[in-house]
Symmetry: C2
Subunit: 461 residues, 2 copies
């Protein structure tokens, strides 16, 4: 329980306690709660009031708050068997996504996930911007369906000189962008070419909406154009999903010439390129501009999320597309999600337009570079491995000893107090070997990163 | 331009002005902007700074701010023809959804849409709650993937006595809930039974994700169980979407006995019932409890949105489901959207837990009842029509003279200064006659409602 000025946070803690108590049990006194949680009397009153409103506690003036009777259990245990028939054999595998967004237990070191540690997040600037945004007279009205004009302008300017606000649709984050774009581009049943390995979230999503991910291998320069051409030919696919800059998980950066070849191959196939530019703000060394800036025919649909370079709850991204597909993407976004909450859009617009924004980006890049070097040094020392050194980003792709089961390694590592990502879920089909993906963005410090790698080394054969 | 303490709002207004100016043109002086927009010097400086950061203006110390050069046009006009081939013949029809969420021009009266007028929104309480939520130490971290425990508890308690927080998944609003639920329940290509008429947003969504909406007529008690049984038999459908309480658009409330029959029919068909409970908070006269409370076998998937009873940008809803389908819904939500931003969840939790919440609900109900009566009185007087008087809600379903083209009426009404919804888009297939849906929630006042109906009367034959 963090020390906090709001009753909602105290209420949240008390809900957990209440579950462990029997109905009628008395809650600690207001005084005890004030001391234990270091909060004011007002905060305690607000928290208890909220729990009473929810029916979790009953208050008796003069004697205190008591755990309420629980809802009576249903007479018969429910029989859900019919659901298995109705639902059929489709499943939705959210395990890899859940791992990305779930917190780690106390004491466990996090070398997984794609979010910045709290100490690297611009929380204060966000709080100020959001406080201001939420108080405006029209704060809670609908924003323009495609997003605030200022935010669309910012995304266009931040991405490339020829892009305009009309090319941008604001969405509720990178994953929602991906869902919208894939649904807009491809009918159910279509193949979707993806890098192998690739971001597991795109695999889970594609399968859920009825697309068939088809792997195309990457090398140290990213997606292989020769095999991409072959895959288009074999499958008749109309789209390829890729991360040309700091590819997840290998960290490869596609050189300019390779980018041109990928665009040419897509052109020859009459296909779209979905460019997931998740790592643009994490570039430590110069890299080519985004694919979309070299695109003159609306071939590239570009996804630029602001979540990774800020904080997990900044659920805002921009999708950039030109030509008829832009209208389809905008319509698809509107039909499935309407629009991201206006105060969030306003707060993000203020954040990226403020003088502190470039300082934030510079600070994050500096911190991540130091963390990357700490992680790679520890990997060399503890694991005797020398993975590729990415030109920035958030993670390294570490080969494990031949014959290792990478999922078993990740499980053993978790028992030893460090969360790493097994490489297996990153492959759309067979893996080309055992890997672990080690992230340096989510840990608390360089010392913690080094300790995490030590713990991982301890479970390797 | 509203008077506002923040520079972002001024910047938004200036962006529109800048588009109309040529590059190099000088912006009004700071003093002129302060006077015209009634803002402080700090606000002007912040706004200009933001526009400069976006590259829209260039500032020259001592002489002012000037419109920047526009991006040079591309050498060749782009040829997007290939996209038509790649995209094929699918389209996404967002027109009805766009109408729901788009603002109306100045001077036009709004008798359309499902949101409350700004004067009925709890904007101040939301601003306070959001300001507090955004400042908490963990505000911007990821919330639990299924939603804050307190918010799930609140949704469960607010819906029925036997429901638990584990039955609830928090989503980013009603439309997103619908997208998640339909995707989780049905594979692409499946039939989906819907009321006829029904909410156009479900039709657009179902078609986009590859489902086939199959109409089942409603009568004055809502969905007809006899025809529902027949539709299940003919199509083999595994789900029906319905609004048993204050059906949109007819306003019908399904009586208890009818509810039991609908559940029995769904049981016999081995199918799910998706209960869209959008109007629960707008009930002016007693109605039966939600379908989900009579469900003992996980048959009903219940969608409870908080947007309509608060404000358009409160993008928070709860999906209630039990049995294996609950896990599938939770996974589907995670894979397509991750989670709604934590500050928004915290702010909403504080809002609904505060003592002012029940006062807000009561005030909204009182205001809407008066508005309903004003609208129905005006309709009787001006149109000579006597539509059913709904037991609450936001709208009336008004039959137009036989032979009228309801879309043409809506267009003529818009030209005459009132936005109403044509009935046609509410029908999955053929319409049973011409209608207009008139909403009393979004107009500014009862006087405006009466004037809107007068304007509509003026365009009728």
């Amino acid at each position: 329980m963090k020390n906090d000025s709001s009753g909602a946070s105290l209420a949240e803690a008390l809900r957990v306690e209440i579950r462990a108590l029997r109905p009628g049990a008395r809650l600690p006194s207001s005084r005890a709660l004030m001391e234990r949680h270091r909060v004011s009397p007002v905060t305690v009153t607000r928290a208890i009031g909220q729990l009473a409103a929810e029916g979790l506690v009953v208050t008796r003036p003069g004697s205190g708050a008591f755990v309420a009777e629980r809802p009576r259990p249903r007479a018969d245990p429910p029989d859900f068997g019919w659901q298995a028939v109705a639902l059929g054999d489709r499943t939705v595998d959210a395990s890899t996504v859940r791992e990305l967004v779930s917190p780690v237990p106390d004491g466990m070191i996090r070398l997984s996930g794609g979010y910045l540690h709290a100490s690297l997040q611009p929380s204060r600037a966000l709080a100020t911007a959001m406080g201001r945004a939420a108080r405006r007279p029209d704060a809670w009205e609908a924003p323009p369906p495609a997003g605030l004009a200022g935010l669309r302008t910012w995304f266009a300017r931040a991405t490339g000189p020829d892009l305009t606000p009309d090319d941008v649709t604001v969405t509720g984050g990178g994953q929602q962008s991906l869902a919208t774009v894939l649904r807009a581009l491809l009918p159910p049943g279509s193949p979707l070419l993806v890098e192998s390995p690739t971001y597991p979230g795109v695999l889970a999503l594609a399968r859920m909406i009825g697309l068939q991910p088809v792997p195309v291998p990457v090398d140290t320069d990213g997606l292989r154009p020769d095999l991409l051409a072959e895959a288009f030919g074999v499958t008749g696919a109309r789209a390829v999903y890729c991360q040309p800059t700091l590819h997840n998980p290998t960290g490869a950066v596609m050189p300019s010439q390779r980018r041109e070849r990928v665009l040419a191959v897509a052109r020859a196939a009459g296909a779209f390129v979905v460019e997931d530019d998740y790592a643009r703000h994490f570039v430590a060394e110069p890299v080519p501009p985004p694919l979309v800036t070299a695109d003159t025919e609306g071939r590239v649909v570009h996804i630029a999320s602001l979540t990774k370079v800020t904080a997990p709850s900044v659920r805002i991204a921009g999708v950039i597309a030109r030509g008829p597909v832009a209208e389809r993407i905008r319509s698809a976004q509107l039909v499935t999600d309407f629009f991201p909450a206006r105060p969030l859009q306003e707060a993000v617009l203020e954040l990226v337009g403020a003088p502190g924004w470039t300082r934030h980006l510079a600070a994050v890049r500096t911190a991540l570079t130091a963390r990357r070097d700490a992680l790679l040094t520890a990997v060399a020392r503890e694991l005797g491995a020398a993975p590729r050194r990415p030109s920035g980003g958030l993670h390294a792709w570490v080969p494990l000893p031949a014959g290792t089961d990478d999922r078993a390694v990740a499980e053993a590592a978790a028992r030893a107090g460090v969360r790493v990502s097994a490489g297996r879920p990153y492959f759309p089909a067979e893996a080309d070997g055992p890997y672990a993906r080690l992230s340096w963005g989510a840990a608390a410090s360089e010392a913690e990163i080094a300790e995490g790698v030590r713990r991982l080394a301890g479970v390797l054969p």
